[in-house]
């Protein structure tokens, strides 16, 4: 039994999110048309934090430009796993048509969650551009998907388990990596 190693602490997570916020503005040449959609659960908290930073940087109100996108019904692994619980989708009042939608998730791993997110998003409207921001990219992609904004690239073995803890859900901010027990290697970072 090995213990979890912390690879990002609260300060580093905060700095990563601030940098990503600036990178989003830089890539978009400003805040126009930006909509942030977090993938529940932790991606939704990260999207809210990014929206707070974007508001602080630009002075714009991002309250009506951040939402959540649940991808449960679009996953490709529903059959093989125990029944998955869903989460709310909250789309900002302006919708996603012709917007620059930044999808936000905590860990990018196989890419399958993001593929499901593309399908979920397409059913809600036609975004002009879709971008992807993640706090951690741990590699091992199974689909041709990459992130536009990455907090930290974290080389990992498939047998390892990467956890993102956020104060909103877990009471603290941290990214940890640990050797998972054999039966837990299929943890839900799909």
């Amino acid at each position: 039994m090995t213990s979890a190693r912390t690879v990002l602490g609260p300060d580093e997570i905060g700095r990563s999110l601030t940098r990503i916020a600036h990178e989003i503005l830089e890539a978009n040449h400003g805040p126009d048309d930006l909509v942030l959609l977090g993938i529940p659960t932790r991606g939704a908290h990260l999207a809210q934090r990014l929206a707070d930073r974007l508001a602080a940087i630009t002075g714009d109100d991002f309250g009506a430009r951040v939402g959540t996108l649940d991808v449960t019904m679009h996953r490709d692994d529903l059959r093989g796993r125990p029944t998955r619980a869903s989460a709310p989708t909250r789309i900002p009042a302006g919708g996603v048509d012709d917007r620059v939608v930044v999808l936000v998730d905590d860990v990018l791993y196989s890419g399958r969650t993001i593929r499901a997110a593309f399908d979920a998003l397409a059913d809600l409207g036609r975004a002009r551009i879709v971008r992807l921001a993640v706090l951690v990219d741990r590699g091992h992609r199974e689909l041709p998907i990459r992130a536009d904004f990455v907090g930290k690239n974290l080389p990992s073995a498939r047998s390892e388990h990467v956890s993102v803890l956020l104060a909103e859900a877990d009471g603290q901010d941290a990214v940890t990596i640990e050797d998972a027990a054999p039966e837990a290697t299929q943890e839900d970072r799909a």
């Binding site: 649940d70 449960t72 019904m73 679009h74 529903l78 059959r79 093989g80 796993r81 125990p82 029944t83 998955r84 619980a85 869903s86 989460a87 709310p88 989708t89 399908d119 059913d123 809600l124 409207g125």
Partner: protein, 321 residues
């Protein structure tokens, strides 16, 4: 959950289903009313009793989840040629369907079918026994009226619901009397003596029963659910006439005034306006009748998803049997 045969389920399982239904409910606001969760699954609506409302609600729910839905009605099917329920069920299962939604006039038919065919079975109403998705949609509509968009995770704690009508023969009343108290609600059953379960005082379901609707209205319940009166089905002298029923147990305009504006008015439909409910009551702002219909699709989506999406549905969620 492997089948949905009864509304008797633990509070956590009920809230999980209602929360899932909340997420499904969002599809109502969308242009593309289609989710791919049950793509490639086939659901048979096996209806031995007529029911346009429940059957089309299940059909829409299945289709919005991308399942293929086939309707088999009792009339004109081999059941009317003398085939047994077991053979009908085994025949349908042998075609490779993934789940069966069954409505039957015989209490207990869905439970038998569930044992025989080895596929998930949903009870869409069996005789005078149960109608679990109706109770779930009633709970959903009531919870949403009370809590709005903040309904997720909540029960119906302390909510006082009176159910009025032919309690003894009503599967809707029975399923609600099982589900609503599990969610924390206080249920009172109201009806003419011949329509109440035998024996005075608390019923075997553990809820209060009374013949005095006016006393219940004076208590200002949070919701009043009127059941459809089926006087045409009742024969013999034990049953009151329509006029007698209206005098004692109808939600008339006069009773509506005493009920006040706060109490939600519920009805599982189809309504007999002027018999168990006045038109003014049915169309009042406090009426949740059309919301209940909308909720029916969301709740049935949640049930079909829970039963059919996974090949290995967790048994940890209470497994409603």
């Amino acid at each position: 959950m492997t089948h949905l045969l009864t509304a008797a389920m633990p509070r956590d399982a009920a809230i999980a289903l209602l929360d899932l239904a909340e997420d499904m409910h969002q599809i109502q606001d969308r242009q593309v009313k289609k989710l791919p969760a049950l793509r490639g699954r086939t659901v048979v609506n096996l209806f031995f009793e007529d029911s346009t409302r429940t059957r089309s609600s299940f059909e829409i729910a299945g289709k919005w989840l991308s399942a293929d839905v086939i309707n088999v009605s009792g009339k004109g099917s081999s059941a009317s040629k003398g085939e047994s329920l077991r053979d009908t069920g085994l025949t349908i299962a042998a075609m490779g369907v993934d789940g069966v939604v069954v409505r039957s006039g015989s209490s207990g038919a869905p439970a038998l079918l569930a044992d025989w065919i080895g596929r998930p079975v949903v009870n869409a109403g069996d005789g005078t026994h149960e109608h679990p998705t109706q109770a779930l949609l009633d709970a959903f509509a009531l919870r949403r009226r009370i809590h709005g968009d903040a309904a997720r995770g909540k029960g119906l704690d302390g909510v006082r619901v009176a159910i009025v009508g032919d309690i003894a023969h009503s599967r809707v009343a029975r399923s609600n009397a099982l589900l609503l108290p599990a969610l924390g609600a206080e249920v009172t059953l109201v009806g003419p003596p011949a329509f109440l379960p035998p024996g005075a005082g608390p019923t075997r379901l553990g809820v209060r029963a009374t013949t005095d609707l006016d006393a219940v209205i004076a208590e200002r319940p949070d919701a009043l659910m009127l059941l459809r009166v089926q006087l045409e089905r009742q024969t013999g002298a034990v049953v009151p006439s329509a006029a007698e029923y209206i005098t004692g147990w109808s939600l008339t305009d006069e009773r509506l005034a005493r009920l006040g504006d706060e109490a939600r008015i519920m009805h599982p439909g189809p309504m007999n306006r002027g018999l168990e409910i006045s038109s003014r009551a049915a169309d009042a702002d406090a009426s949740t009748i059309l919301e209940q219909v909308t909720a029916g699709v969301s709740v049935r989506m949640a049930v079909l998803y829970s039963l059919l999406a996974s090949d290995h549905p967790s048994s940890a969620d209470g497994g409603s049997r």
